[in-house]
């Protein structure tokens, strides 16, 4: 879950704000601006709609996986529930820039203990606690039903999201910030210790945005593209070491030095990735 919801309003109303500010705009050659940037702006619009498709696709997968997860919980199949928990979440984590736009739903689906009042706490992590801490599904059926309906609601609402270039530019780095502040510290999945799944999904989500922006980025700064690609490769080759079967090793099995190595690799990637806003400039 996103730690602060402050940026939410900004994401939702970016276009609105921009509209207002243009009216107040006193710099004369505003028309000229519009012409100069129209080409790259429309390229960015294409990217935005491609990303929208990608994110909606992930949310659709998330709905299916959540169905599997919640059914396992309500039918008392604890092993199945544990098995599908982490992979299901990956779809949500990949699409997080969009998924968490809905400030009411994100905490319901993805809040961790302490993020919200205990009596309001539900969603994935509440059930995670039941599965791993208490080793039961009993008493968690209601949470599962609620989760399913919240996720269905998310699927319906996600259609309404307007994906702006700003959302993409901040979203890519935000995904890695999520990794830096909660996944790499083991605080995301504190009962199941499946943090590395979320970690990988966040990185993949960021990579998707980078891939979509690559043609535009190449025009601005080819070296930056090479650098970012190299750093993604570095992160993936580190993650490769922690693969186990079809999934990833438990966070608790990571050595302190390995956690640090992962954290520093994310920093090394996120620094050049934070420069992708250069695509908004005319060349």
């Amino acid at each position: 879950m996103k730690k602060t919801k402050a940026s939410l309003a900004v994401l939702l109303s970016t276009s609105l704000l921009f509209g207002c500010s243009q009216e107040k705009e006193e710099v004369k050659p505003a028309d000229k601006n519009a012409k100069e940037t129209s080409a790259s702006a429309s390229a960015l619009d294409d990217v935005s709609s491609e990303y929208r498709e990608y994110a909606i696709g992930e949310i659709e997968e998330f709905v299916k996986a959540t169905e599997e997860f919640t059914t396992a919980v309500t039918s008392g199949d604890i092993e199945k529930a544990k098995e599908v928990y982490a992979p299901a979440r990956m779809h949500y984590e990949r699409a997080e820039p969009i998924a968490e736009v809905f400030g009411d739903l994100d905490p319901k689906i993805d809040a961790r203990k302490g993020d919200v009042k205990d009596e309001e706490w539900g969603g994935y992590h509440r059930i995670e606690m039941g599965l791993w801490e208490e080793n039961t599904t009993k008493g968690y059926e209601e949470y599962a039903n609620q989760l399913m309906s919240d996720v269905n609601l998310l699927r319906a609402k996600v259609e309404t999201v307007e994906v702006t270039p700003d959302l993409l530019i901040t979203g890519a780095v935000d995904l890695l910030n999520e990794v830096s502040t909660s996944k790499v510290t083991g605080e995301e999945d504190r009962y199941s210790h499946t943090d590395l799944y979320d970690f990988v999904a966040n990185v993949e989500g960021a990579e998707k945005i980078y891939e979509l922006l690559t043609p535009a980025l190449k025009e601005k700064d080819e070296k930056l593209v090479t650098e970012i690609q190299q750093r993604f490769d570095d992160v993936y080759s580190l993650l490769e070491k922690h693969k186990e079967g079809n999934g990833y090793t438990s966070y608790t099995d990571l050595k302190e030095s390995e956690v640090k190595e992962l954290s520093q690799a994310i920093d090394a990637l996120a620094e050049p990735l934070s420069q992708i806003g250069i695509v908004t400039e005319e060349s």
């Binding site: 107040k24 710099v27 601006n33 100069e36 940037t37 270039p165 806003g277 908004t280 400039e281 005319e282």
Partner: protein
């Protein structure tokens, strides 16, 4: 600062933020708001002018030697030892070029990089030193033995340039060194009369190096501020004693040439004008010291606590007579006192530039976690620091109250001329 004159404002404007650039970025993503709302005045706030009026607290960055060695010690230190993660030599060279440029800007009290109006990108400078005076900031770069060879590997084809003196120190008795506080491929010593300015310097350099270097260890340090001690007396360490009274005179260039700066013939030519830095992170057992009686404290250092005078003398700078005996024939300054052993025969001198540190509480013991980041400079560690430390490690009374936790040796690179870069003589 100079940016405050109208002419400079104009030239800055044309140079840093061309009107065309401004219009280009203004079209997308609401950047135009900035211009519309604040006009050119707001724009100029984005420029690299940081401080007002104060020009007397700048230490020149360019010169035959790096600053921060014979510079009068500033109030604060931020020290970072880095590991190089890239294996590409040209990346490493580019990094030193970028660092040189940023260091020259920051020591002059300017912000890093050129101001950009693109609000879809993070600012080039991290901003916390804006409006702050240069604060006598110095940034000193050094290279450690592991930059040349690591695990037997000649990492950047520099092995043949590695000076014989650039190697780990021998293990001294009582050393309790921890890897997490020892070594490093590169060091950055930032000293300033303001800790925020020093932190800003290291933070921005580390940021520039992200992806090519990682932090291996880092330490803040302090001593009494000049403001708190307008007489600029010898600073006291955290045991309350004056330390460093017998330092060689930094203003005496022949002494510096003899003891500090590497000369032609000392080793590889690339280091001529540089200096070897030895760093020791020395933890102090604060609580143990606090319950030690004064006589014992004074015998430990060999000085009177209050005056700083050698035992038996009146004033701090009175001549030290290590042989002086009391009426019972005992030495007045104990042979195992810190001062006595540090001096030895007085031939080996090092330029000490230490800073105290205080890192909160030791979670294991609940004790105050504090001590000294001992930094010294010299021409030849094995003839200077090593024999001194061998004497101290064996017999120093002070060893009951301290423990060496970290150790590193760096070759501080020669100074740089405008247009050149730090490390040029090494990489060329």
């Amino acid at each position: 600062m100079k940016e405050n004159t109208p002419n400079d404002e104009t030239s800055l404007f044309t140079k840093k933020v061309s009107r065309r650039n401004m219009l280009k970025t203004a079209g997308v993503g609401g950047v135009g708001v900035v211009i519309g709302a604040s006009g050119f005045g707001g724009l100029l706030n984005l420029s690299d002018s940081k401080a007002n009026g104060q020009t007397n607290d700048v230490v020149p960055f360019y010169g035959a030697n790096q600053a921060g060695i014979t510079t009068e010690a500033q109030d604060n230190l931020y020290f970072a030892a880095l590991e190089v993660t890239t294996d590409n030599k040209s990346d490493l060279i580019q990094l030193f070029k970028d660092w040189t440029e940023a260091a020259a800007q920051m020591t002059a009290g300017k912000l890093v990089g050129e101001a950009s109006l693109n609000t879809s990108m993070p600012p080039k400078d991290t901003g916390e030193a804006k409006e702050l005076s240069p604060s006598n900031l110095t940034i000193t770069f050094g290279v450690g033995p592991t930059l040349f060879t690591k695990n037997g590997k000649d990492r950047f084809g520099l092995k043949s340039k590695k000076p014989a003196e650039l190697k780990d120190l021998p293990k001294f008795p009582l050393d309790a060194l921890e890897d997490s506080w020892s070594g490093g491929d590169i060091c950055i010593q930032a000293c300033a009369d303001d800790l925020q300015v020093a932190f800003h310097a290291v933070r921005n350099l580390v940021r520039i190096g992200r992806g090519k270097t990682i932090i291996h260890w880092a330490q803040t340090g302090f001593q009494r501020t000049k403001q708190a001690d307008s007489q600029k007396t010898t600073p006291r360490n955290l045991f309350g004693f004056k330390d460093g009274t017998a330092n060689p005179d930094k203003k005496n260039s022949s002494e510096m040439n003899e003891h500090v700066w590497v000369k032609a013939g000392d080793g590889p030519d690339w280091l001529v004008g540089g200096s070897y830095m030895v760093v020791r992170r020395i933890q102090m057992y604060i609580e143990v010291w606090d319950r030690t009686i004064l006589k014992e404290q004074e015998n430990t250092f060999g000085r009177h606590r209050d005056s700083g005078a050698p035992l038996g003398m009146k004033n701090e700078f009175d001549k030290v007579d290590l042989e002086a005996k009391d009426k019972n024939g005992n030495r007045i300054i104990p042979e195992d006192s810190h001062m006595s052993l540090s001096r030895g025969d007085g031939k080996a001198k090092i330029l000490r530039r230490p800073y105290s540190y205080a890192d909160g509480m030791d979670p294991k013991t609940g004790s105050l976690n504090a001590g000294l980041l001992f930094i010294c400079y010299q021409r030849n560690p094995s003839k200077q620091f090593v024999p001194i430390q061998e004497r101290l490690a064996k017999n120093d009374k002070l060893n009951e109250y301290i423990i060496h936790r970290g150790s590193a040796v760096f070759a501080c690179l020669p100074g740089v001329k405008k247009g050149g870069y730090i490390g040029e003589s090494l990489f060329r």
